[in-house]
Amino acid sequence: DQQVKQNSPSLSVQEGRISILNCDYTNSMFDYFLWYKKYPAEGPTFLISISSIKDKNEDGRFTVFLNKSAKHLSLHIVPSQPGDSAVYFCAATLDNAGNMLTFGGGTRLMVKP
């Protein structure tokens, strides 16, 4: 049973618009959440993280929102650029030591010029 789920396998948006990628989790003990981006033939790269004591974290064009009561987090990319086209994974961990990340299934984002 997947503890971290990304229910949309793919998302297509127009360049300049907002991309919203969603992630749900079931384990209320998760303490830290992360987003990774993966291009074909490359390993995932760390994008942004958020602690469970926060509800928002922003880094440039990327913002992660956490709704603990709903066990839901989302990644907003504004404005979206063609270079953002990739597979995005959300991940969760039980501690801030970053051990044993549990990943979602990924969402493929396509940003059209």
Binding site: G43, P44, F46, N96, G98, N99, M100
Partner: protein, 113 residues
């Protein structure tokens, strides 16, 4: 630039063969991980190690073993390769803080025939 290097990009092995996947990191990280990536399932943790000669099972350790004789090197071993182990294998390391996430290698695409 920090790096996690996986020795092979592509491998084709026969059923029943013993397979070694090598991973080396140059960041002096304590923690190292092996994941496999399959479509729709995201990244699933096979094994991880938080110190030399230490190892912990992840979510799907069956059919795999690992070795960590030196801090910078973490090897994944398929004792007797089977076709259901055809997958993308990703090695990662981390300094032990979720603030920084993992650094992943580029992956090894293993095909077992």
């Amino acid at each position: 630039d920090v790096k996690v290097t996986q020795s092979s990009r592509y491998l084709v092995k026969r059923t029943g063969e013993k397979v070694f996947l090598e991973c080396v990191q140059d960041m002096d990280h304590e923690n190292m991980f092996w994941y496999r990536q399959d479509p729709g399932l995201g990244l699933r943790l096979i094994y991880f190690s938080y110190d030399v000669k230490m190892k912990e099972k992840g979510d799907i350790p069956e059919g795999y073993s690992v070795s960590r004789e030196k801090k910078e090197r973490f090897s994944l071993i398929l004792e007797s390769a089977s076709t259901n182990q055809t997958s993308m294998y990703l090695c990662a390391s981390s300094p032990g803080s979720a603030n920084y996430g993992y650094t992943f290698g580029s992956g090894t695409r293993l095909t077992v025939v």
